[in-house]
């Protein structure tokens, strides 16, 4: 089994040998699709007059849920068990995988159909099952493509966002020996034909959970392709894996979240299918695995708690200009984009993921679109602060020294002038250098430096400031014409 640590260390943003952040070029298809989705979904969300009110409400419900996880999870377990579900707890991915392998053994499972689930990506479940001789097939079209290609998802909602229709046609031709086509309908036909058989043959279905309702003990799974419905109902055994943060107090809050999730995720008013699983159906076995896997680390950091409110809609990925250009793999783990940059450091530790919060221009687009109002941009800065102060790849005594010197220089006007005069001189001289080192070189790689003016504003003010400081009455300036009044 690949450990998350190993997986991470190979990721472009995180490689230890990279001093800064390596910058892979994501695929063009990914950038364009993410931008298109973002614009479309934003239009859909803003057309809801009470969108902001929904966000506030969802934030409040999630806040309550996360602060009361201890009670709600136990209530959920009790009610789910009363409906015939077998509820299992797992502290980490390893324990969750152990549960699954035991279930596999108990029910003599040879083949598994999986519907899309990010949490099972955290567990590297497909590898674990393969190692145990179980064939696990992804049934979500995007996941299916990514699995066929031997890749990892680039996105949490649209895993194959990086593949164009032509890419998919070539993939099917190569792996499924189908005649090449790039027509969308034909491609989905091919996938459907290959997948249909599998549902009927499978011994077990594995799914994630979108929402777990404490008061009814039921789980909700949303999807658009019908694959989740088949995966959880055709085979005789269904295992649903959920992170501890998926629980909400009651089913009465579900419509609110469904409204937010579909619109933010795919620009739909509602997903095509919404499954609510109320316990086990007669003759079938239903397991629910509740997984922590580092999530309770987040609870210890009050400033980061709202990152657990995430409903995995992917809106922040689509909105992020950095994600659009680097793609999902750059982030090194299951969750890419802004949300990945703030949760991965908690889930796998700063030692491995300390660089992620720096992969952002702090533009704030993520926070603006988040349907549950996670303050992602502020958390990025919060995590940068944590990263430079804890064992992590970005903690650097040298960089600390530079900022200490900067801080000293900026804490007094004379030192400021001295430091800034040096900077001005440096920028002036840079024009004559044949080669620019370090940060200077990073700037001039694609940009001209600003011109250095002959004087500074403070020097100018010393000469002319008196003209500005006088009171109205004495200055001799004409009475101000305030122009057109506007309401503030």
């Amino acid at each position: 089994m690949t450990s998350p640590g190993l997986h991470l260390s190979g990721a472009p943003f995180l490689k230890k040998e990279n001093k800064g952040l390596a910058e892979p070029h994501g695929s063009r298809a990914l950038g364009e699709s993410a931008e298109r989705s973002s614009k479309h979904n934003r239009q859909v969300t803003l057309s809801v007059p009470h969108w902001e009110q929904w966000r506030e409400e969802a934030h409040a419900v999630k806040r309550f849920s996360i602060l009361n996880l201890d009670k709600l999870l136990v209530e959920f377990e009790r009610n789910a068990a009363a409906r015939g579900a077998v509820v299992l707890w797992a502290k980490d991915a390893e324990e969750a995988n152990r549960h699954i392998l035991e279930i596999v053994e108990r029910h003599r499972v040879k083949t598994v159909v999986k519907s899309k689930s990010m949490v099972t990506e955290e567990m590297e479940l497909n590898h674990v099952l393969a190692a145990a001789g179980v064939r696990a097939l992804e049934t979500d079209l995007g996941e299916y493509l990514v699995q066929l290609a031997g890749q990892r998802p680039v996105h949490i909602v649209t895993p194959a966002l990086h593949l164009s229709a032509e890419d998919v046609g070539r993939l099917f031709a190569e792996k499924l020996q189908e005649p090449y086509t790039s027509e969308h309908e034909k491609l989905t036909d091919i996938a459907r034909r290959h997948l249909r058989e599998e549902y009927l043959r499978a011994d077990m279905g594995i799914s994630g959970v979108n929402f777990a309702m404490a008061d009814t003990g039921s789980i909700c799974i949303v999807e658009n392709e019908g694959n989740a419905g088949l995966s959880i109902s055709a085979p005789p055994v269904h295992v649903a894996v959920m992170g501890i943060e998926k629980v909400i107090p009651g089913i009465r809050y579900l419509p609110l979240f469904l409204n937010l999730l579909a619109r933010s995720g795919t620009g739909q008013k509602l997903t095509t299918y919404t499954h609510i699983v109320h316990g086990a159906t007669p003759g079938r076995t239903f397991y629910i695995i509740i997984l922590d896997n580092g999530r309770s680390n987040v609870l210890r950091d009050p400033a980061a708690r709202s990152s657990l409110f995430c409903i995995r809609c992917g809106a922040c990925l689509n909105a992020c200009p950095v994600y659009r250009r680097t793609g999902g793999w750059a982030y090194g783990w299951v969750y890419p984009g802004p949300i990945g940059a703030i949760i991965t450091p908690h889930l796998v530790g700063m030692e491995d993921a300390g660089k992620l919060p720096f992969a952002s221009s702090l533009c704030g687009a993520c926070g603006e679109v988040c349907p549950v109002k996670i303050d992602i941009p502020h958390q990025l800065v919060h995590l940068r602060h944590k990263a430079v102060n804890s064992p992590s790849p970005v903690r650097s005594p040298f960089e600390r020294l530079i900022w200490k010197a900067w801080s000293w220089a900026m804490a007094g006007p004379l030192r400021y002038r001295l430091a800034m005069t040096t900077v001005r001189l440096g920028v002036r001289l840079a024009k004559f250098l044949p080669w620019h080192p370090a940060q200077l070189g990073a700037w001039t790689r694609g940009r001209e430096l600003p011109e250095v003016p002959a004087y500074t504003f403070r020097a100018w003010w010393r000469q002319r400031g008196r003209e500005f400081a006088e009171d109205d009455d004495k200055s001799g300036i004409a009475p101000p014409s305030l122009g057109k009044e506007v309401s503030a």
Partner: protein, 255 residues
């Protein structure tokens, strides 16, 4: 566009009474590299009859260290800032980004009320003019085609978008050109610009292409830091070299 917050506790701007003094906070890069913007800011306020002071002890708002994670180092600079600006009721700054640092993020650096209250008295120039003083027409004339870049910090942290647009609308003979994808980041991002230069430049090139597409000869903004980055890209490109980056204050003083 949704304005959720302007960084003020009650969301309400104070209203300026004639004769009250305003202190200028001139961010370090403007002081050193773009003094004409600070001069224009001073001239605009003077023309409105607002007495201004420039506390000479001022240095920087602390943002570079803060955004890089060095909050302890930022705190020292923030405290110095607050010592310098404590006596003033209004602090006016020709940068949305630095204003956001003062008004929104000082609290993170040091929640001491004496720090936070000074930060909350800092206003970006265009919002000071429109929301605090209550003026929209400065009597400027600028016969050029102009587009506007909206800096992310100013817009998303302080809700600044309508104010500079309103001010530009009232400039005589100015032809406003819509900027495609105005909501998108230009890719500057402070130290991000040199930590991830490839991505930063790619974002800047997209922004530059949109500026070209707008058909404008001048690109303006309340943030010259963004324009320093985008302008650096425009200057490199022969097809874009003719587009002049100008801070909004430079346009508002044209007669």
């Amino acid at each position: 566009m949704i304005h959720l917050t302007n960084g003020l506790p009650d969301g309400k701007y104070p209203s300026y009474n004639r004769g009250e003094k305003a202190a200028l906070f001139i961010p370090c890069y403007i002081d050193q590299f773009f003094p004409q913007i600070a001069e224009a800011t001073a001239a605009i306020l003077k023309n409105l009859g607002i007495p201004i002071v420039f506390p000479e002890g001022q240095t920087c708002c602390g943002q570079p260290a803060f955004n890089s994670g060095y909050w302890e180092e930022a705190a020292r600079v923030v405290r110095h800032f607050c010592d310098v600006f404590r006596p003033y009721q209004y602090v006016v700054c020709p940068s949305g980004s630095c204003t956001a640092m003062c008004r929104v993020f000082f609290e993170q650096v040091d929640p001491d009320e004496r720090i936070v209250s000074v930060g909350r008295r800092v206003f970006e120039l265009s919002e000071f003019l429109v929301n605090v003083v209550g003026v929209a027409d400065l009597g400027a004339r600028f016969p050029h085609k102009v587009t506007m870049h909206s800096g992310c910090h100013g817009r998303r942290e302080l809700g600044i978008l309508d104010q500079p647009l309103t001010l530009l609308q009232n400039v005589k003979d100015l032809v406003y050109c819509e900027l495609p994808n105005i909501e998108e980041c230009c890719g500057f991002g402070g130290t991000f610009s040199v930590k991830m230069p490839g991505t930063s430049i790619a974002m800047g090139e997209t922004k530059a292409a949109n500026i070209l597409r707008s058909g404008a000869d001048v690109v303006t903004s309340v943030d010259i830091s963004c324009l320093m980055h985008v302008g650096g890209i425009l200057k490199r490109n022969p097809q874009m070299r003719h587009i002049r980056p100008m801070h909004i204050a430079e346009i508002l003083v044209q007669r």
